[in-house]
């Protein structure tokens, strides 16, 4: 805890989960270079953020940075404060010291992840899949999984293997897994991309509702703003520019 409260800073950071300043990630492949530049980004607790853009614009990279999966090339300041009761963690310092396991622990404790294609383990039942994170965290058994399953309409599938479910149902299981260990943040990368638009809208609405009920911060990447707009998410402003020869792409994210 800070001994000397800076009224200004505390005010600004009060309720802020993510605080990023001048975080840059450079990537080069086959002579084409890509740069994601985040001059300033604050995400407050309980916020629902949408990162909208075509593929290749860097939204997945941004999510990877926020999930401590991708290492930024340059960090001025990257602070993470999942519990407002605790002082913020200096993610930049952990990357500098290559403390990958510490980052991993932080991720498994505070972040839920919903993957594009579900990412369910085919050999585990739906129940075990949803329980995976809880299991790793050694959380006590309670009715969390059943409640989530009921709310997502997949209760009758709990003892089946994912292979027997439809894509939409699998996506609901993935959402349940992302939420089951009561993380502070859920990151979802195109969670409904593989589902038909009608179902997608329904699933997304359900997802937002569940997250809101639990006061979970949500960061969603999607290429379709249309059906997300209605759910009241805050759209992260970003601007993508390409050099004339098309070899350099830079995306600047602010928010």
């Amino acid at each position: 805890m800070e001994t000397q409260p800076h009224s200004d800073a505390t005010q600004r950071e009060g309720g802020t989960i993510y605080h990023l300043r001048n975080v840059v990630l450079d990537r080069k492949s086959e002579g084409v270079s890509f740069r994601l530049n985040v001059p300033s980004l604050q995400i407050r607790q309980g916020e629902q953020i949408a990162v909208i853009g075509e593929s290749g614009c860097g939204k997945s990279t941004l999510l990877d940075i926020l999930a401590f999966i991708a290492k930024p090339s340059d960090i001025d300041s990257f602070r993470f404060r999942p519990n407002l009761a605790d002082s913020p963690t200096d993610i930049g310092a952990l990357w500098d010291k290559k403390q990958l396991n510490a980052l991993g622990d932080m991720r498994k404790q505070h972040i839920g992840y919903v993957m594009q294609t579900g990412g369910l383990l085919p050999y585990l039942t739906v129940r075990d899949n949803i329980n995976l994170s809880r299991n790793v965290l050694k959380m006590k058994k309670d009715d969390t999984v059943d409640t989530l399953a009921r709310e997502l309409g997949i209760a009758r599938h709990l003892d089946k293997l994912p292979g027997t479910l439809s894509t939409g149902e699998r996506q609901r299981v993935a959402i349940a897994r992302g939420l089951a260990h009561q993380p502070s943040i859920v990151i979802a990368d195109e969670p409904t991309a593989s589902v038909d638009p009608f179902a997608a809208e329904k699933i997304m609405a359900l997802f937002m509702e569940l997250a809101e009920d639990r006061n979970i911060t949500v960061i969603v990447a999607s290429h379709a703003w249309r059906h997300i707009k209605r759910l009241g998410l805050r759209r992260l402003a970003h601007h993508t520019s390409r050099s004339e020869d098309g070899r350099t792409t830079e995306t600047v994210v602010n928010g």
């Binding site: 997945s60 990877d64 999930a67 999966i69 991708a70 990958l100 396991n101 991993g104 622990d105 991720r107 498994k108 404790q109 992840y113 993957m115 594009q116 294609t117 990412g119 369910l120 383990l121 085919p122 050999y123 585990l124 995976l132 994170s133 299991n135 790793v136 965290l137 050694k138 293997l161 990368d189 593989s194």
Partner: protein, 399 residues
């Protein structure tokens, strides 16, 4: 705890993909099974040959080719050697005959006498003569004299002494009848003392024990020959060398023994060549399939990384599955081996007089198991290292 979770997940995955798992197990058993059969045959056949060599004590016998002079001192020195099981001096063979007769048969039988004592490898199944009046007959001699155990027979020895033909009679008790293998001609195993007495008598030397008259005995006795058995068949060559070195030419069955040992060595070499190639091939194929498996499961493994499994935990995923494959494949291979071994042994039973041709000991199975598991662990370690390098984001966005 995390390790246990990884084991559980790896187990579930292994069972879930049971078709693939069965293929791995079959592939392993297909390599290991024939290897076990091959080794079983090698071990059974060579083992049988060695057993035969060991069982027949004549294979351990070392006979001097020509006569020389050996005194008690020399014999005792030989007896003290570790590789010598049994040694007795022989008297001159020309003096070592006796004419036997029995009340039960109306004929005389001339037999060769062989000196013996307790521990004689040729008399393992019968008791050796303990006193000077006891005798063990070869089966042919016993048959000709119509003798049973415990019968009394008469021995007579003749000599020319001071120009006169003389004869002495001895009363002997038959305490045993030797195996047919021990001595094939008419023969009698007797106490060395008796042989010395008869040789003395023939040489015109007095034998006080039997009150046979003659001149006084020379101070020191020498023997022209000896009976020598090495402790094991593997000592024969060494003893032969040692005897040759002191100028004693001997005849042995060392060439037969050498032949079997050479065959053992050659077959062992051939076996190991095949075994190493087989093991190498198996390790490669298991390694390759585990390696490919890591690729196939990239996404699933990255999910595990994402929910918080650490690098060290992920390594155990392919490791566990490899060990399952090794153990199950090993078990199946043993089953295959048993079936083949029983078939071969039953088929060959007529020709081998019930001796098993295909034999493996429990420790062979254990060794095969250990080697298989080790090979599996080594090949799994490589793919495990690969699995551990999977980043959490690696498999996230494939479609």
């Amino acid at each position: 705890m995390k390790l246990f979770k990884t084991l559980r997940l790896a187990t579930k995955d292994y069972l879930h993909e049971w078709q693939v798992s069965i293929c791995f197990v079959l592939a392993l058993a297909a390599v290991l099974g024939p290897m076990l059969v091959l080794f079983g045959l090698k071990f059974g056949i060579i083992g049988g040959m060695i057993d035969e060599l060991i069982e027949d004590p004549t294979n351990r016998e070392i006979r001097p080719v020509s006569s020389a002079r050996f005194d008690d001192n020399w014999i005792n020195q030989m007896r003290a050697r570790k590789d010598v099981e049994f040694i007795l001096p022989r008297t001159r063979s020309i003096a070592a005959t006796v004419q036997l007769s029995s009340d039960k048969a109306d004929r005389f039988v001339n037999v060769e006498m062989i000196p013996t004592a307790s521990g004689d490898p040729l008399l393992q199944k019968t008791s050796a003569p303990e006193t000077i009046n006891q005798i063990v007959l070869s089966p042919t001699a016993a048959r000709k004299l119509n003798i049973e155990l415990g019968d009394q027979i008469q021995g007579s020895v003749t000599r020319r002494y001071l120009g006169e033909a003389e004869r002495v009679e001895l009363s002997l008790t038959v305490v045993g009848i030797a195996d047919a293998d021990a001595f094939t001609r008419d023969g009698a195993f007797v106490n060395l003392e008796l042989m010395e007495a008869i040789e003395n008598y023939r040489d015109g030397i007095a034998v006080t024990q039997f009150k046979w008259s003659g001149s006084e005995a020379p101070s020191e006795r020498t023997y022209p020959s000896f009976r020598l058995f090495s402790r094991s068949i593997y000592d024969v060559a060494g003893l032969q060398k040692a005897l040759n070195a002191v100028g004693v030419e001997v005849r042995t069955k060392s060439s037969d023994i050498e032949l079997v040992m050479k065959m053992d060595r050659n077959l062992t070499m051939v076996y190991w060549a095949i075994a190493i190639i087989g093991l190498f091939g198996f390790s490669l194929s298991l390694g390759a399939s585990l390696w490919a498996n890591v690729d196939r499961k990239r996404k699933e493994l990255s999910v595990l990384r994402l929910v918080g499994f650490r690098t060290g935990d992920i390594v155990w995923f392919p490791m566990t599955q490899a060990i399952y494959t090794a153990v199950l494949g090993w078990g199946l291979a043993i089953g295959l081996y048993q079936a083949v071994a029983i078939t071969i042994n039953t088929m060959m039973a007529d020709q081998t007089e019930g001796q098993s041709v295909c034999v493996l000991l429990p420790e062979h199975f254990a060794a095969a198991g250990v080697v298989t598991v080790l090979a599996a662990i080594i090949s799994a370690a490589l793919s495990g290292a690969r699995a551990a390098r999977i980043a959490p984001s690696d498999g996230l966005r494939e479609i």
